[in-house]
Protein backbone atom coordinates (compact mmCIF):
# COMPACT_ATOMS: atom_id res chain seq x y z
CA UNK A 1 0.00 0.00 0.00
CA UNK A 2 1.38 3.32 -0.47
CA UNK A 3 4.95 3.93 -1.26
CA UNK A 4 5.67 1.94 -4.32
CA UNK A 5 8.06 -0.33 -2.63
CA UNK A 6 11.12 1.79 -2.68
CA UNK A 7 13.42 1.44 0.27
CA UNK A 8 12.95 3.09 3.57
CA UNK A 9 15.99 3.54 5.72
CA UNK A 10 17.17 0.58 7.72
CA UNK A 11 16.94 2.59 10.92
CA UNK A 12 13.18 2.59 10.58
CA UNK A 13 13.19 -1.18 10.69
CA UNK A 14 15.58 -1.05 13.59
CA UNK A 15 13.23 1.24 15.46
CA UNK A 16 10.58 -1.43 15.18
CA UNK A 17 12.83 -3.83 17.00
CA UNK A 18 13.39 -6.04 13.99
CA UNK A 19 17.14 -5.65 13.73
CA UNK A 20 17.75 -7.52 16.93
CA UNK A 21 18.96 -11.08 16.51
CA UNK A 22 15.89 -13.09 15.68
CA UNK A 23 16.61 -15.52 18.46
CA UNK A 24 16.12 -12.69 20.92
CA UNK A 25 12.84 -11.50 19.54
CA UNK A 26 9.82 -12.57 21.58
CA UNK A 27 8.78 -16.07 22.47
CA UNK A 28 6.37 -17.44 19.90
CA UNK A 29 5.09 -20.11 22.16
CA UNK A 30 3.62 -17.80 24.79
CA UNK A 31 -0.13 -17.58 24.89
CA UNK A 32 -0.33 -19.08 21.45
CA UNK A 33 -4.08 -19.62 21.37
CA UNK A 34 -4.90 -16.12 22.59
CA UNK A 35 -2.49 -14.52 20.21
CA UNK A 36 -3.63 -16.73 17.35
CA UNK A 37 -7.20 -15.56 17.75
CA UNK A 38 -6.14 -11.95 18.11
CA UNK A 39 -3.91 -12.19 15.10
CA UNK A 40 -6.65 -13.76 13.00
CA UNK A 41 -8.90 -10.81 13.76
CA UNK A 42 -6.11 -8.36 13.09
CA UNK A 43 -5.31 -10.04 9.78
CA UNK A 44 -8.90 -9.51 8.64
CA UNK A 45 -8.53 -5.86 9.53
CA UNK A 46 -5.23 -5.54 7.69
CA UNK A 47 -6.64 -7.19 4.57
CA UNK A 48 -9.65 -4.86 4.73
CA UNK A 49 -7.28 -1.89 4.93
CA UNK A 50 -5.45 -3.02 1.79
CA UNK A 51 -8.79 -3.52 0.04
CA UNK A 52 -9.80 0.03 0.98
CA UNK A 53 -6.50 1.33 -0.33
CA UNK A 54 -6.80 -0.50 -3.63
CA UNK A 55 -10.41 0.70 -4.02
CA UNK A 56 -9.33 4.23 -3.11
CA UNK A 57 -11.92 4.50 -0.36
CA UNK A 58 -10.14 7.21 1.57
CA UNK A 59 -12.42 7.52 4.59
CA UNK A 60 -12.50 3.76 5.06
CA UNK A 61 -8.75 3.54 4.73
CA UNK A 62 -8.06 6.30 7.24
CA UNK A 63 -10.36 4.57 9.72
CA UNK A 64 -7.84 1.71 9.88
CA UNK A 65 -5.10 4.10 11.04
CA UNK A 66 -4.31 5.42 14.49
CA UNK A 67 -4.58 9.18 14.90
CA UNK A 68 -0.79 9.47 15.09
CA UNK A 69 -0.03 6.93 12.37
CA UNK A 70 3.57 7.01 11.15
CA UNK A 71 4.05 6.41 7.43
CA UNK A 72 6.94 6.35 4.94
CA UNK A 73 7.16 8.92 2.16
CA UNK A 74 10.33 8.43 0.15
CA UNK A 75 13.08 9.51 2.52
CA UNK A 76 10.82 11.13 5.08
CA UNK A 77 7.89 10.20 7.26
CA UNK A 78 4.30 11.34 7.43
CA UNK A 79 2.52 11.68 10.75
CA UNK A 80 -1.18 11.50 11.43
CA UNK A 81 -4.31 11.00 9.39
CA UNK A 82 -4.38 14.52 7.93
CA UNK A 83 -0.98 14.10 6.34
CA UNK A 84 -1.97 10.72 4.98
CA UNK A 85 -5.23 12.11 3.63
CA UNK A 86 -3.32 14.74 1.71
CA UNK A 87 -0.72 12.22 0.57
CA UNK A 88 -3.19 9.73 -0.82
CA UNK A 89 -5.36 12.41 -2.39
CA UNK A 90 -2.37 13.62 -4.38
CA UNK A 91 -1.23 10.09 -5.15
CA UNK A 92 -4.61 8.98 -6.43
CA UNK A 93 -4.78 11.99 -8.74
CA UNK A 94 -1.87 10.39 -10.61
CA UNK A 95 -2.10 6.63 -10.24
CA UNK A 96 -4.26 3.63 -9.49
CA UNK A 97 -2.47 1.10 -7.30
CA UNK A 98 -3.61 -2.41 -6.46
CA UNK A 99 -1.98 -3.95 -3.41
CA UNK A 100 -2.94 -7.59 -3.01
CA UNK A 101 -1.73 -9.22 0.20
CA UNK A 102 -0.53 -12.76 -0.49
CA UNK A 103 0.44 -13.66 3.03
CA UNK A 104 0.65 -12.20 6.49
CA UNK A 105 3.04 -13.45 9.15
CA UNK A 106 3.51 -12.25 12.70
CA UNK A 107 7.02 -11.25 13.69
CA UNK A 108 6.08 -9.97 17.11
CA UNK A 109 2.81 -9.73 18.98
CA UNK A 110 1.89 -6.40 17.38
CA UNK A 111 4.09 -6.46 14.29
CA UNK A 112 3.11 -8.32 11.17
CA UNK A 113 4.81 -8.62 7.81
CA UNK A 114 2.72 -8.58 4.68
CA UNK A 115 3.85 -10.12 1.41
CA UNK A 116 1.99 -8.37 -1.35
CA UNK A 117 1.82 -8.07 -5.08
CA UNK A 118 1.57 -4.48 -6.19
CA UNK A 119 0.41 -3.24 -9.57
CA UNK A 120 0.58 0.47 -10.31
CA UNK A 121 -1.45 1.80 -13.21
CA UNK A 122 -1.75 5.22 -14.73
CA UNK A 123 -5.16 6.87 -14.68
CA UNK A 124 -5.90 5.46 -18.12
CA UNK A 125 -5.18 1.95 -16.91
CA UNK A 126 -1.73 1.38 -18.36
CA UNK A 127 0.50 -0.68 -16.11
CA UNK A 128 3.34 1.47 -14.80
CA UNK A 129 5.00 -1.18 -12.66
CA UNK A 130 4.54 -4.49 -10.91
CA UNK A 131 6.41 -5.56 -7.81
CA UNK A 132 6.32 -8.09 -5.01
CA UNK A 133 6.90 -6.31 -1.72
CA UNK A 134 7.10 -6.85 2.00
CA UNK A 135 5.46 -4.34 4.32
CA UNK A 136 5.94 -4.30 8.07
CA UNK A 137 2.94 -3.08 10.00
CA UNK A 138 2.93 -2.05 13.64
CA UNK A 139 -0.55 -2.39 15.08
CA UNK A 140 -2.23 -0.78 18.03
CA UNK A 141 -5.15 -3.10 18.61
CA UNK A 142 -6.71 -3.41 15.19
CA UNK A 143 -5.40 -0.08 13.95
CA UNK A 144 -2.22 0.47 11.98
CA UNK A 145 0.18 2.77 13.81
CA UNK A 146 3.25 2.45 11.57
CA UNK A 147 4.28 1.08 8.22
CA UNK A 148 7.77 0.33 6.97
CA UNK A 149 8.86 -1.20 3.73
CA UNK A 150 11.48 -3.90 3.87
CA UNK A 151 14.22 -2.43 1.75
CA UNK A 152 15.92 -3.77 -1.29
CA UNK A 153 19.65 -4.03 -1.07
CA UNK A 154 21.34 -0.75 -1.92
CA UNK A 155 22.97 -2.04 -5.07
CA UNK A 156 19.75 -3.74 -6.07
CA UNK A 157 17.79 -0.52 -5.73
CA UNK A 158 20.46 1.30 -7.70
CA UNK A 159 19.90 -1.16 -10.50
CA UNK A 160 16.30 -0.04 -10.78
CA UNK A 161 15.65 2.50 -13.52
CA UNK A 162 15.24 6.03 -12.22
CA UNK A 163 11.70 6.29 -13.49
CA UNK A 164 10.70 3.38 -11.27
CA UNK A 165 12.19 5.10 -8.26
CA UNK A 166 9.66 7.88 -8.58
CA UNK A 167 7.02 7.77 -5.92
CA UNK A 168 3.97 6.71 -7.92
CA UNK A 169 1.81 6.01 -4.96
Amino acid sequence: MIVAGRPTDATAVEQMGLMRPLSEVGSRSQNRSDSTNRHATAEQSVRAAYAAYSAQRLADLLAFMTSDVDWPDRNGRLRGRDELRSYWTKQWARTRTQDVPTAIAWLEDAVCAVLLDQTVRSLDGEVVSRARLVHLLQLDGLLISRLDIVPLAQSQSQAIPDEKKESHT
Partner: protein
Protein backbone atom coordinates in the same frame (compact mmCIF):
# COMPACT_ATOMS: atom_id res chain seq x y z
CA UNK B 1 37.20 -32.72 9.85
CA UNK B 2 35.87 -30.73 6.93
CA UNK B 3 32.20 -30.95 6.11
CA UNK B 4 29.83 -29.52 3.52
CA UNK B 5 26.41 -28.30 4.59
CA UNK B 6 23.78 -27.87 1.89
CA UNK B 7 20.81 -25.52 2.27
CA UNK B 8 18.06 -26.00 -0.26
CA UNK B 9 15.74 -23.44 -1.79
CA UNK B 10 12.17 -22.37 -1.16
CA UNK B 11 9.02 -24.43 -1.47
CA UNK B 12 10.71 -27.82 -1.69
CA UNK B 13 11.72 -30.49 0.79
CA UNK B 14 14.22 -33.35 1.07
CA UNK B 15 17.59 -31.70 0.62
CA UNK B 16 19.30 -35.09 0.76
CA UNK B 17 17.70 -35.96 -2.54
CA UNK B 18 18.34 -32.65 -4.30
CA UNK B 19 22.03 -32.56 -3.39
CA UNK B 20 22.92 -36.26 -3.64
CA UNK B 21 24.40 -36.22 -7.19
CA UNK B 22 26.82 -33.48 -6.15
CA UNK B 23 27.50 -34.82 -2.66
CA UNK B 24 28.48 -38.25 -3.96
CA UNK B 25 30.85 -36.81 -6.55
CA UNK B 26 32.56 -34.58 -4.01
CA UNK B 27 32.91 -37.36 -1.46
CA UNK B 28 34.31 -39.75 -4.08
CA UNK B 29 36.91 -37.17 -5.13
CA UNK B 30 37.89 -35.73 -1.78
CA UNK B 31 36.48 -37.89 0.97
CA UNK B 32 34.65 -34.86 2.36
CA UNK B 33 31.20 -35.75 3.61
CA UNK B 34 28.15 -33.57 3.59
CA UNK B 35 24.77 -33.02 5.15
CA UNK B 36 21.63 -31.34 3.88
CA UNK B 37 19.84 -29.10 6.35
CA UNK B 38 16.20 -29.98 7.03
CA UNK B 39 14.34 -26.68 6.94
CA UNK B 40 11.54 -26.32 9.50
CA UNK B 41 9.75 -23.75 7.33
CA UNK B 42 9.30 -26.45 4.67
CA UNK B 43 7.79 -28.94 7.08
CA UNK B 44 10.92 -31.05 7.37
CA UNK B 45 10.94 -31.10 11.17
CA UNK B 46 8.36 -31.56 13.90
CA UNK B 47 7.30 -27.91 13.66
CA UNK B 48 3.66 -27.45 12.77
CA UNK B 49 2.96 -26.21 9.27
CA UNK B 50 3.10 -22.46 9.08
CA UNK B 51 4.68 -21.95 12.48
CA UNK B 52 8.38 -22.04 11.58
CA UNK B 53 10.02 -19.45 9.37
CA UNK B 54 13.39 -17.90 8.67
CA UNK B 55 14.28 -17.80 12.36
CA UNK B 56 13.85 -21.53 12.72
CA UNK B 57 15.60 -22.30 9.44
CA UNK B 58 18.60 -20.24 10.53
CA UNK B 59 18.61 -22.00 13.88
CA UNK B 60 18.61 -25.38 12.12
CA UNK B 61 21.69 -24.32 10.17
CA UNK B 62 23.32 -22.98 13.32
CA UNK B 63 22.75 -26.29 15.11
CA UNK B 64 24.27 -28.18 12.20
CA UNK B 65 27.30 -25.91 12.30
CA UNK B 66 27.63 -26.53 16.02
CA UNK B 67 28.04 -30.22 15.20
CA UNK B 68 30.84 -29.65 12.70
CA UNK B 69 34.19 -30.77 14.07
CA UNK B 70 36.47 -28.66 11.94
CA UNK B 71 35.65 -26.37 9.06
CA UNK B 72 32.48 -26.10 7.02
CA UNK B 73 31.75 -25.13 3.45
CA UNK B 74 28.13 -24.02 3.38
CA UNK B 75 26.26 -24.17 0.08
CA UNK B 76 22.99 -22.36 -0.48
CA UNK B 77 20.57 -22.62 -3.36
CA UNK B 78 18.08 -19.82 -3.95
CA UNK B 79 16.33 -19.10 -0.59
CA UNK B 80 19.12 -21.08 1.06
CA UNK B 81 21.30 -18.00 0.71
CA UNK B 82 18.95 -16.04 2.94
CA UNK B 83 19.15 -18.79 5.53
CA UNK B 84 22.94 -18.58 5.32
CA UNK B 85 22.85 -14.81 5.84
CA UNK B 86 20.91 -15.34 9.04
CA UNK B 87 22.37 -18.58 10.35
CA UNK B 88 25.95 -18.97 9.15
CA UNK B 89 27.55 -16.46 11.48
CA UNK B 90 29.55 -19.25 13.07
CA UNK B 91 33.24 -19.97 13.72
CA UNK B 92 33.11 -23.26 11.81
CA UNK B 93 32.28 -21.53 8.52
CA UNK B 94 35.30 -21.27 6.28
CA UNK B 95 33.73 -20.69 2.90
CA UNK B 96 30.34 -20.19 1.29
CA UNK B 97 28.97 -21.15 -2.10
CA UNK B 98 25.82 -19.79 -3.67
CA UNK B 99 23.84 -21.18 -6.57
CA UNK B 100 21.31 -18.79 -8.12
CA UNK B 101 20.90 -17.40 -4.66
CA UNK B 102 20.93 -14.30 -2.48
CA UNK B 103 23.29 -12.49 -0.17
CA UNK B 104 20.90 -10.14 1.61
CA UNK B 105 22.03 -7.34 3.83
CA UNK B 106 20.58 -7.18 7.33
CA UNK B 107 17.01 -5.96 7.33
CA UNK B 108 15.95 -7.59 4.08
CA UNK B 109 13.35 -10.28 3.49
CA UNK B 110 13.15 -12.96 0.84
CA UNK B 111 9.98 -11.44 -0.60
CA UNK B 112 11.63 -8.07 -1.00
CA UNK B 113 14.81 -9.52 -2.44
CA UNK B 114 12.73 -10.80 -5.32
CA UNK B 115 10.73 -7.61 -5.51
CA UNK B 116 11.64 -6.53 -9.00
CA UNK B 117 11.72 -9.85 -10.77
CA UNK B 118 9.79 -9.48 -14.01
CA UNK B 119 8.11 -12.84 -13.75
CA UNK B 120 7.89 -13.82 -10.10
CA UNK B 121 6.82 -17.35 -9.27
CA UNK B 122 3.11 -17.39 -8.61
CA UNK B 123 2.40 -18.44 -5.06
CA UNK B 124 -0.84 -18.88 -3.17
CA UNK B 125 -1.54 -18.77 0.56
CA UNK B 126 -2.93 -21.81 2.31
CA UNK B 127 -5.18 -21.88 5.37
CA UNK B 128 -2.36 -22.90 7.67
CA UNK B 129 -0.02 -19.95 7.17
CA UNK B 130 1.98 -21.55 4.39
CA UNK B 131 2.47 -20.70 0.74
CA UNK B 132 2.59 -23.00 -2.27
CA UNK B 133 3.54 -22.53 -5.88
CA UNK B 134 0.34 -21.78 -7.71
CA UNK B 135 -0.81 -22.84 -11.12
CA UNK B 136 1.90 -25.37 -11.84
CA UNK B 137 1.77 -29.01 -12.75
CA UNK B 138 4.76 -31.27 -13.28
CA UNK B 139 5.10 -30.25 -16.92
CA UNK B 140 5.01 -26.50 -16.36
CA UNK B 141 7.16 -26.76 -13.25
CA UNK B 142 9.75 -28.69 -15.22
CA UNK B 143 9.63 -26.17 -18.06
CA UNK B 144 10.42 -23.33 -15.70
CA UNK B 145 12.69 -24.86 -13.09
CA UNK B 146 14.21 -27.97 -14.63
CA UNK B 147 14.28 -27.36 -18.36
CA UNK B 148 17.84 -28.67 -18.69
CA UNK B 149 17.37 -31.75 -16.52
CA UNK B 150 17.25 -34.57 -19.05
CA UNK B 151 16.48 -37.43 -16.68
CA UNK B 152 12.71 -37.91 -16.71
CA UNK B 153 12.70 -39.73 -13.39
CA UNK B 154 14.59 -36.83 -11.80
CA UNK B 155 11.96 -34.44 -13.16
CA UNK B 156 9.22 -36.54 -11.61
CA UNK B 157 11.03 -36.94 -8.30
CA UNK B 158 11.66 -33.20 -8.13
CA UNK B 159 7.98 -32.44 -8.63
CA UNK B 160 7.13 -34.83 -5.78
CA UNK B 161 9.32 -32.74 -3.51
CA UNK B 162 7.60 -29.44 -4.15
CA UNK B 163 5.94 -28.48 -0.91
CA UNK B 164 4.33 -25.73 1.11
CA UNK B 165 6.48 -23.35 3.12
CA UNK B 166 5.68 -20.98 5.94
CA UNK B 167 4.87 -17.47 4.80
CA UNK B 168 7.12 -16.14 7.53
CA UNK B 169 10.13 -17.52 5.66
CA UNK B 170 9.38 -14.97 2.94
CA UNK B 171 8.59 -11.92 5.02
CA UNK B 172 10.87 -12.08 8.05
CA UNK B 173 13.69 -9.55 7.74
CA UNK B 174 17.20 -10.82 8.28
CA UNK B 175 19.12 -9.50 11.26
CA UNK B 176 22.56 -10.60 10.10
CA UNK B 177 24.60 -10.73 6.90
CA UNK B 178 26.85 -13.68 7.70
CA UNK B 179 28.35 -13.68 4.21
CA UNK B 180 30.28 -10.51 4.93
CA UNK B 181 33.98 -11.15 5.42
CA UNK B 182 33.79 -14.81 4.36
CA UNK B 183 35.33 -16.27 1.20
CA UNK B 184 32.53 -17.14 -1.18
CA UNK B 185 31.77 -18.36 -4.67
CA UNK B 186 28.67 -17.69 -6.72
CA UNK B 187 27.50 -19.88 -9.57
CA UNK B 188 25.44 -17.68 -11.90
CA UNK B 189 22.97 -19.89 -13.75
CA UNK B 190 22.76 -18.18 -17.11
CA UNK B 191 19.78 -20.20 -18.38
CA UNK B 192 17.77 -19.76 -15.20
CA UNK B 193 14.12 -19.12 -16.00
CA UNK B 194 13.01 -18.22 -12.49
CA UNK B 195 15.72 -16.01 -10.98
CA UNK B 196 16.90 -13.47 -13.50
CA UNK B 197 20.56 -13.37 -14.43
CA UNK B 198 20.49 -9.66 -13.61
CA UNK B 199 19.41 -10.32 -10.05
CA UNK B 200 21.92 -13.13 -9.70
CA UNK B 201 24.73 -10.83 -10.81
CA UNK B 202 23.77 -8.22 -8.23
CA UNK B 203 24.18 -10.81 -5.52
CA UNK B 204 27.18 -12.44 -7.15
CA UNK B 205 28.96 -9.10 -6.92
CA UNK B 206 28.98 -9.54 -3.14
CA UNK B 207 30.95 -12.76 -3.32
CA UNK B 208 34.68 -13.06 -3.73
CA UNK B 209 34.42 -15.25 -6.84
CA UNK B 210 31.68 -15.58 -9.44
CA UNK B 211 31.40 -18.15 -12.21
CA UNK B 212 28.86 -18.46 -15.01
CA UNK B 213 27.38 -21.88 -15.56
CA UNK B 214 25.23 -22.50 -18.61
CA UNK B 215 22.37 -24.13 -16.72
CA UNK B 216 18.87 -23.61 -15.45
CA UNK B 217 17.86 -23.07 -11.83
CA UNK B 218 19.01 -26.48 -10.57
CA UNK B 219 22.53 -27.17 -11.85
CA UNK B 220 23.06 -29.72 -9.09
CA UNK B 221 20.54 -31.87 -10.97
CA UNK B 222 21.30 -30.94 -14.56
CA UNK B 223 25.09 -30.59 -14.28
CA UNK B 224 26.18 -32.04 -10.95
CA UNK B 225 29.64 -32.46 -12.41
CA UNK B 226 30.05 -28.69 -12.75
CA UNK B 227 28.86 -27.96 -9.23
CA UNK B 228 30.98 -30.75 -7.78
CA UNK B 229 34.04 -29.48 -9.64
CA UNK B 230 33.68 -26.05 -8.07
CA UNK B 231 33.27 -27.53 -4.62
CA UNK B 232 36.25 -29.81 -5.10
CA UNK B 233 38.34 -26.87 -6.26
CA UNK B 234 37.38 -24.87 -3.18
CA UNK B 235 38.10 -27.74 -0.81
CA UNK B 236 41.49 -28.44 -2.39
CA UNK B 237 42.45 -24.77 -2.10
CA UNK B 238 42.13 -25.10 1.68
CA UNK B 239 45.05 -27.47 1.97
Amino acid sequence: MTEILFVHGALVRDGDWWWRPVAERVEDATGVRSRAIALPSCGETEALAGTAGLREDAEALRRALDAVEGSALVVGHSYGGTVIAEGADHPSVRELMYISSYLPEAGMAQGAIMSDERDPVQIAPQEDGTLRVDGYDQKSFTARFLQDVQDLSAQAEAWKRVTAQSASAFVTPTTRAAWQGVASTYLVCTQDRTTSVELQRIHAARTTRAIDVNTGHHPFLSRPDLVAAELIQSLRSWS
